[in-house]
Assembly symmetry: C2
């Protein structure tokens, strides 16, 4: 039985442990982008009317924070309580990094509580976004890659070399 | 037997069919970004010394084109023959879109040739990048999201609204 389960796992496109590692690998890279971002440009520097860096990062924190708890427990944090909606955002790079690390721990705690057979289950994330557990997690990850890519342009335009994309 | 296989599939984090759909969904969004990008800014517009839009897109085409064939057949196109290395890039938006569509078809042809039990197999992509079949495919997808996010900033800075990120 154990051997059969192992074989099944090895035949999977991606195991849940690999998905967690994939997510945290991306989050580790985003953390290095936060570290590289000049604190005095975090709150108002913008290109083309886009949100400042802190706004992008707070959205990622909100989605990951409320998202992993919602997927694991079914309890979804109301959008109106989220920092990117209330505007109650970190006031320094230290505070932003500390919030980031808090969510890293929270993901490590809640993600393994998502049962293996639930990844294809349909969910209504934050009470409004239809998908499966997997597609919702990939939305969080892809949204992070997307906004971090934008932060790379902010950094380049400020004359700062971003961390290597392929280092996780 | 068939029922057992179905159940196993339903218990997976992601099936190979879902991974293909995920990739092509992202590629459909990137195609809309190409359509939205002003042709007269494709070849030289830059922020912070970054590559122009066509350079980013050609890299994505090269990776997907040589990548899916390499993963499916084990034959890897030599890097020195790739357009983002040779500089032999499309000279118009129409040509870029046509090359994009060619690769879309190629992915639909080659991807299903990757056997289900090969996704966790170790490969040396393009003869030099270590990973599994899955992690290599995710690198292609993530790299596309990353550069497309950068193209969103280019578009915004040119006063153009990019397509919605969540539409695939």
């Amino acid at each position: 039985m154990e051997t059969t389960q192992m074989t099944e796992k090895l035949n999977q496109v991606m195991t849940s442990e690999q998905l967690l590692a994939h997510w945290q690998g991306h989050r580790a890279l985003t953390r290095r982008v936060i570290e590289a971002f000049p604190e005095d440009k975090m709150f108002d520097y913008s290109i083309g009317g886009m949100r400042p860096f802190v706004g992008l990062m707070v959205e990622l924190i909100d989605l990951a924070d409320g998202g992993v708890e919602g997927l694991a427990t079914g309890n979804w944090k109301p959008s109106e309580e989220m920092a990117h909606v209330t505007g109650n955002v970190p006031q320094s790079k230290e505070e932003l990094l500390s919030k980031w690390d808090e969510v890293t721990e929270k993901i490590n705690l809640f993600f393994p509580q998502i049962a293996e057979d639930r990844f294809q289950e349909h969910v209504l994330a934050f009470g409004q976004y239809e998908g499966t557990v997997s597609s919702t997690l990939f939305y969080f990850i892809d949204n992070e890659i997307h906004h971090r890519g934008q932060a790379y342009v902010y950094l380049r335009s400020l004359g700062i070399n971003p961390p290597f994309f392929w280092e996780r």
